[in-house]
């Protein structure tokens, strides 16, 4: 276990998340891709806390902030999916072509 190995694992998670967020059609699957990206970011922040910050608790605060970001993303994402489903009966991005105008 080393900083490099941790960062490479987090890079893999981020890459898979990017792939998912770009390729999926369903709104909730796109949210899953975004959460995977945040997962990789959290792992990287934890790794930096453990290997480069001499154990300062302030570095762990960054992970706490990322938790908050993830909770906000999930809550607003679910609310938007409910709203779009109710208004447009859409559950995949292809049904929202009207946005193009």
């Amino acid at each position: 276990m080393s900083l490099e190995a941790l960062l490479v694992v987090s890079a893999v998670l981020f890459g898979v998340g990017v792939y998912g967020a770009l390729s999926q059609q369903s709104f909730v699957m796109i949210m899953m891709g975004i959460e995977l990206m945040l997962n990789g970011a959290m792992l990287a922040a934890g790794a930096f806390w453990a290997y480069t910050a001499a154990g300062q608790p302030k570095a762990q605060m960054l992970v706490v902030v990322l938790f908050t970001v993830m909770a906000v993303e999930a809550a607003i994402g679910f609310a938007l999916v409910i709203n779009i489903y109710r208004v447009r009966k859409a559950d995949i991005t292809e049904k929202l072509k009207k946005l193009k105008g």
């Binding site: 900083l3 959460e35 993830m70 709203n83």
Partner: protein, 212 residues
């Protein structure tokens, strides 16, 4: 087996499990299973946190994700087609581009991880990380902590406002429905709206007709 070797083996197990389940998220036939695979990926990262000595973060991550993934599964069953995964499911667009961008993102970040020069200041083995984080949360970084709390509160209010059926001035979707071509569609959602409020909407419909 000595402790560092055991930690290494556990780390690679958690890392491989996390990456594999991340990949399975987008290969599962059922979105419900995809949500559980995502949870497995988070558990792997939480395990790595425990190995690093950040026990609080690891357990909070598991608790938070258990709740969130449960909500997500309920969501899948409510809204999405094919929740049971009886049929094969591939719902992707711009697939090749996405793969290319994902690989590029990985390569860029991995190159950064391998070739950048980071300061080496590891955590001491005697670190009391959880106690120190608690003191930090309610001491030096209290403003950050409180701001996170207020942000979450406003998020909750915003989410309720977005998701509720009825807004303060009528149906929540009144402003966001597509304009109807046929004049019959004008009466949408009028039961909760005073008549005067509907006039601009009617103008908009006529304008639309004129364009068509």
């Amino acid at each position: 087996m000595n402790a560092p070797l055991l930690a290494d083996v556990l780390f690679w197990l958690f890392a491989a499990g996390s990456v594999l389940s991340a990949w399975r998220v987008f290969r599962a036939d059922s979105m419900m299973r995809a949500a559980y695979w995502l949870f497995a990926s988070f558990v792997g990262v939480a395990g790595i946190f425990l190995l690093l000595g950040a026990e609080f973060l690891g357990f909070i991550l598991i608790l938070m994700m258990a709740g969130e993934m449960t909500i997500m599964v309920v969501f899948m069953v409510m809204f999405m087609m094919n929740p049971a995964g009886l049929n094969p499911m591939t719902m992707v667009h711009q697939h090749r581009t996405s793969i290319a961008v994902g690989v590029l993102a990985f390569l860029g970040l991995a190159a950064l991880a391998l070739f950048a020069d980071f300061p080496a200041a590891p955590v001491a083995d005697t670190s009391r990380a959880t106690a120190e984080l608690g003191t930090e949360l309610l001491g030096g970084s209290m403003l950050v902590f409180q701001t996170a709390g207020v942000t979450l509160l406003s998020t909750m209010i915003g989410a309720i406002a977005l998701a509720s059926v009825r807004g303060r001035y009528g149906d929540a979707e009144a402003g966001s429905t597509e304009p109807q071509i046929a004049p019959e569609g004008v009466g949408r959602g009028s039961h909760a709206m005073p008549a005067a409020k509907e006039e601009p909407e009617m103008d908009e419909h006529h304008g639309h007709l004129g364009h068509g």
